[in-house]
């Protein structure tokens, strides 16, 4: 597998700054435009977006169906998109059920649906998570305090190409009277990665 992201980050950052300075000096990019694009992307990117998507899917079976069939086409219904980067990224939403649970990982690097989940947690980028979750997901989930029953089939989705993944958790029992906002407040980033029930 490729190197640990906890490694020589300072060297990479220095190289990026150098490349950026060269591009600016040669008039290939505008520094303010670069800052604006990164700022717009990061400020809109938050796990609150993924939580809204999950809550809407729980309340609206039509939206849920469209989301699972073609997430990129369904996101604009909530004013969201996967177009924040250089090009639109394909999003696949995978649904947890009573007998099937999903977990996402990027074993090769750290691919992650930043627009819907915000910047990824450090552990998601760690060599330990990336190498262990594909091999023994139940052991990793136990370390998060999550124990899917023995009959539950687990699928680990390795984002090794150009798609990004998000888990649609199961709606918790006893939440029948809650509105979209209250339901969204129950959804955690870990739930949308698949290392927590919700």
């Amino acid at each position: 597998m490729s190197g640990d992201h906890g490694g020589p980050a300072a060297a990479v950052a220095a190289r990026v700054r150098h490349v950026e300075a060269l591009l600016e000096r040669r008039g290939l990019v505008d520094a303010r435009e670069l800052d604006r694009a990164i700022g717009a992307f990061v400020t809109r990117a938050s796990p609150a977006n993924g939580a809204r998507v999950a809550a809407r899917a729980w309340l609206d079976p039509g939206f849920r169906g469209r989301l699972l069939a073609d997430a990129n086409a369904a996101l604009p219904e909530l004013g969201l998109s996967m177009r924040g980067g250089l090009q639109e990224q394909r999003l696949k939403v995978v649904e947890n059920t009573a007998d099937a649970h999903n977990v996402i990982v990027c074993t090769l690097c750290s691919c992650y649906p930043i627009a819907l989940l915000g910047p990824s947690p450090t552990w998601y980028k760690s060599e330990a998570y990336r190498s262990r979750v594909v091999r023994d997901p139940r052991a990793v989930l136990r370390e998060f305090g999550f124990y899917p029953g023995p009959a539950v089939r687990i699928t680990v989705w390795d984002a090794s190409a150009e798609s990004r993944y998000m888990v649609l958790p199961r709606r918790p029992p006893g939440t029948e009277g809650l509105d979209e906002q209250a339901l969204a407040a129950l959804v955690t980033r870990n739930g949308l990665i698949g290392v927590a029930p919700v």
Partner: protein, 95 residues
């Protein structure tokens, strides 16, 4: 480039260990799995990383049994793979 594989097809991944960048993870090499869906077409990273011409190539979601990849485990792992990494599974690899 038209897609060669359909959902449900059994495919086997390459065993090659190239000296350049590739996006076929090592743990999924030489393994037999089932195509789940087609993702669209994207340039092959193995070519792009070497600055060689790379036209759009089909990418598939392929599901593997953990036992096939690791010799143990009851879960499955899906890996997103370019068509160049795959060949049709042989008759002995159908299930």
């Amino acid at each position: 480039m038209a897609e060669r594989y359909h959902p449900g097809d059994r495919v086997r991944t390459s065993r090659a260990d190239p000296p350049h960048h590739t996006r076929l993870p090592r743990y999924a090499r030489g393994a037999t799995g089932t195509v789940v869906e087609r993702q669209g077409r994207y340039p092959l990273p193995d070519l792009r990383a070497r600055q060689l011409p790379a036209g759009p190539e089909p990418v598939y979601t392929v599901r593997f049994a953990a036992a096939e990849l690791f010799g143990e485990g009851d879960h499955s792992v899906t890996v997103d793979l370019w068509e160049s990494y795959l060949r049709p599974a042989g008759p002995a690899e159908q299930r």
